[in-house]
Symmetry: C2
Subunit: 512 residues, 2 copies
């Protein structure tokens, strides 16, 4: 038996999954590391802690493989997008990993939104004008941390740093590059204007390669620790955002992947770079001839968590005593309330919002309260609000890439029956949920299979995904949601000015 390993470099942990030739899971490791948030808007990680996590995770799963009789045919990667690390001329980190969740560059994104340069760049890079983008992080460092900016000989992301440590090569594949804001998705090269505005030189950036590119020749010391030959092919892999579509087989045109984990996203694969004239959606490369177009939302399951912790703290204790998942208990409560929550609407923007409104000032609200509304209405309204928000992302996406044919759903939220049905009802479309486990790692391994030639086409992932469940929309609920969605959308437009005002108030007076 031969083996493959998929590694997912996530924001809170690195996961590694060991597969056999048929993508059956043989082993799993998950290594956590902290997110440093000592200052408001900061969200950093330690590059060396992540490197250690990768080596540990690989070591752990390799131990489950019998490499005497079998062969490790490849190791492939999925990685969080938008990370930025400055390296000195000896390739030593002089910053931590500044992650996608870091908002300290907001001022620069705002400025570029206003002066129009942000949109000009977006049209070439596919990366929305937002502080998550390394382009704006570079502008922030250049203006506010000039010493670091001047000392940096190289700018890389976390995956590039891991490859550097393991192999001593500085390479960046198209997928991760396409989320930096510095990469032109039309000609697959760094963008001259982006380099110019940030003052970054080509020599400071890694060599661009195909996501299917292989690297071999691991430093002896690590190969020994991990327990694999130094010539084991490591496949560059791609970004988690794009691989999550592949991971649920949402790679045919018109197949939309809706993900709700802590945050959420709606994404679809296209066969050419696609730009939104209104700038609401991103376009990142999956491979050199497949692009993923979509919108990321801040307010996914994290909002459900807030509702649980704030409005249902006692029920959480009850669930614990019942040895029951507290989210399950809450969805059971929500199920007793009719679709539409008797006219209670919730806007889930507790953490500002990215797609589709791209407004860091957006705030959450309950609207339509009467004395007949109960706390149970509030939890159902919250779940519906999260879905309305994703639905509006899909409406934006539709304008750019056309009507979806099929919806695949993933993420922690998809564990709930109620939520799956709600997704089908609000989207008015069948929703398919794969049982798949760690679909990011699986997708990385499928890239590797293509790279080493065991499959011809990425769509062959279908046979590795296994069982799926499909939920049909319930026509009884259409009239309800068809009336509420337009109110939901109009409200978030009308409230825009007051979002800015209340956010200003909160910055000035609050600890919010």
């Amino acid at each position: 038996m031969d083996y493959m390993i998929g590694v997912d470099l996530g924001t809170t942990s690195t996961k590694a999954v060991l597969y056999d030739d048929n993508c059956n899971v043989l082993g799993y490791a998950n290594k956590l590391y902290p997110l440093y948030q000592d200052k408001p808007d900061m969200a950093e990680e330690d590059p060396n802690e992540i490197f250690d996590a990768v080596v540990d995770a690989l070591t752990e799963v390799v131990r489950k493989a019998d490499l005497q009789t079998g062969k490790l045919r490849g190791v492939s990667f999925s990685a969080a997008m938008h990370s930025l690390i400055g390296l000195d001329k000896n390739h030593q980190p002089i910053t931590r990993v500044i992650t996608w969740a870091d908002n300290r560059a907001e001022k620069y994104a705002d400025e570029y939104k206003k002066n129009g340069i942000g949109f000009e760049l977006y049209k070439k890079t596919g990366t929305p004008t937002h502080p998550m983008s390394p382009l704006y992080k570079l502008l922030w460092l250049k203006n506010e941390h000039r010493d670091i900016y001047d000392d940096a000989a190289y700018w890389v992301g976390i995956k590039e740093y891991i490859f550097w440590r393991l192999f001593g090569v500085l390479k960046e594949e198209y997928s991760i590059a396409s989320a930096t804001g510095l990469f032109n998705i039309f000609n697959l090269d760094w963008d001259e204007q982006a380099l110019e505005v940030t003052g970054v030189k080509r020599e400071q950036l890694p060599e661009l390669v195909d996501p299917l590119a292989q690297v071999t020749g691991m430093h002896d010391e690590y190969a020994k620790v991990i327990g694999i030959p130094t010539d084991t092919p490591f496949i560059m892999g791609a970004s988690d955002g794009t691989l999550s579509n592949l991971g649920v087989n949402a790679i045919k045109p018109g197949v939309v992947a809706v993900t709700i984990g802590t945050s959420g996203a709606v994404r679809v694969v296209t066969d050419k770079p696609t730009i939104d004239p209104k700038g609401r959606v991103f376009c990142y490369a999956l491979t050199k001839d497949k692009w993923v177009v979509g919108g990321p939302v801040n307010n996914g399951g994290i909002v459900f968590r807030w509702v649980r912790d704030q409005l249902f703290a006692p029920e959480k204790v009850t669930a614990d005593m019942m040895n029951m998942d507290s989210y399950d208990l809450l969805t059971q409560i929500a199920k007793e309330i009719p679709a539409g929550s008797d006219g209670l609407l919730f806007h889930p923007f507790l953490g500002g919002e990215r797609a589709p409104i791209w407004d860091a000032n957006a705030r959450g609200s309950f609207f339509g309260l009467t004395r007949n509304h109960t706390r149970a209405h509030m939890v159902r309204a919250a779940l519906e609000g999260i879905v309305y928000n994703l639905y509006t992302v899909m409406l934006a996406l539709e304008e750019v890439v056309g009507k979806p044919k099929e919806i695949m759903a993933t993420g922690g939220f998809a564990r709930s029956e109620l939520w799956r049905q709600m997704l089908a009802d609000i989207f008015e479309s069948p929703v398919t949920i794969p049982d798949a486990f760690e679909s990011g790692c699986l997708a990385a391994v499928v890239l590797a299979m293509k790279s080493i030639g065991t499959i011809d086409d990425l769509s062959e992932i279908e046979k590795f995904i296994g069982k799926t469940n499909t939920y049909q929309p319930n026509p009884d609920n259409f009239p309800v949601y068809r009336e509420l969605v337009p109110i939901y959308i109009r409200l978030s437009r009308q409230l825009q000015t007051e979002y800015a005002n209340i956010a200003n108030f909160q910055r000035k007076f609050g600890n919010n």
Copy 2:
């Protein structure tokens, strides 16, 4: 020692208080009766149940008086406004008491708002165009219950019915009359146009008298039961809405009374009838030369009750176990949150709203939510929202009668320290709270004292009110509330269209 009795005919109970000459309280009785709400928007009472309650309450307090050595110098009344009862030609009720809270005439108020006749009438009657007004109740009966309308020989309110039962006279004083929508507050007579549109004839309405007018000659049977001479003077009294200003000595120009009980109001006394060119405030007669101008709000303490029952059900149980008032426990929680609730705004329109927006479709909302907001923020935001709403009523009132000089506060809400301070801070004005007990009954008795000549001027009530506490506004909180109030006001304006849309949805689909 001589005695006086004040009776308050309320929506949920009738209260009677026995006083000595110096308005010291000697006895108290409270008789409850049900509110019938079998249909949506209906809110009725049984006139005979109320009559029995009045007799019972009087009987009970009279027993505490020593009428061998002392004399009962007078009994006087406060009564809920806007009630309507149809009597047949034998003065038998053919309807229940249709109370102020009954909304079934909404369609007719709406129609008259749109066609402008409502405003024309308001400018003469001082009664806002709203289903609470007997004028619109009559239009509703005329159009939808023609049999009742045709059978009615007389139209009266609850106080008139009580006097009829006790004395066999049909009299209505200016104060209650001025809240019927049928009464011209400028010439103190029924309004011709109002009679015309409702088709009601003068002969169908009681004789108009001064609130200080006395009636004697009680039917023997009741005088016997109650235990008083038949010649005891009964003073007509006035409406609870206008007496509540007298009851806290808010009768000098510029002294504003803010009341929050289940519902709420902001009121000021003027020495001439005063009309709002924007139609937002009422003007009712207190006596024949004093008028009360103000705005009633639906959403007072009842909103706090909703917050307690829905969001703080577990804490209510905790308070019960501690033998502590649950509202006290909640205000203690709210106190820990800074003024302004860290930028969480609450619009309290859970039951539509009367003043200042007069919009039955208005709905409640929480706005500005972030993940840092807790349930404790929600209770403080709710209390602040109730006060913002009253403050906007005062702003409307200010346009009509000028800046307030002093604020007196009453109602169940005034039991809370936190809320008194909040009122002072948001209104940016000292707030005085009398310790007085059942100020409606006290005010009725002070009317009686003027009627029988023991005082010259109503302002002498000051010496009977006793101890007061004054709360100074805290300037630390001004900047916070000065930023939030304009956002609060703009939001309720901007949301107007969506209030209508969500209310329509709720009528169509919900059980709300």
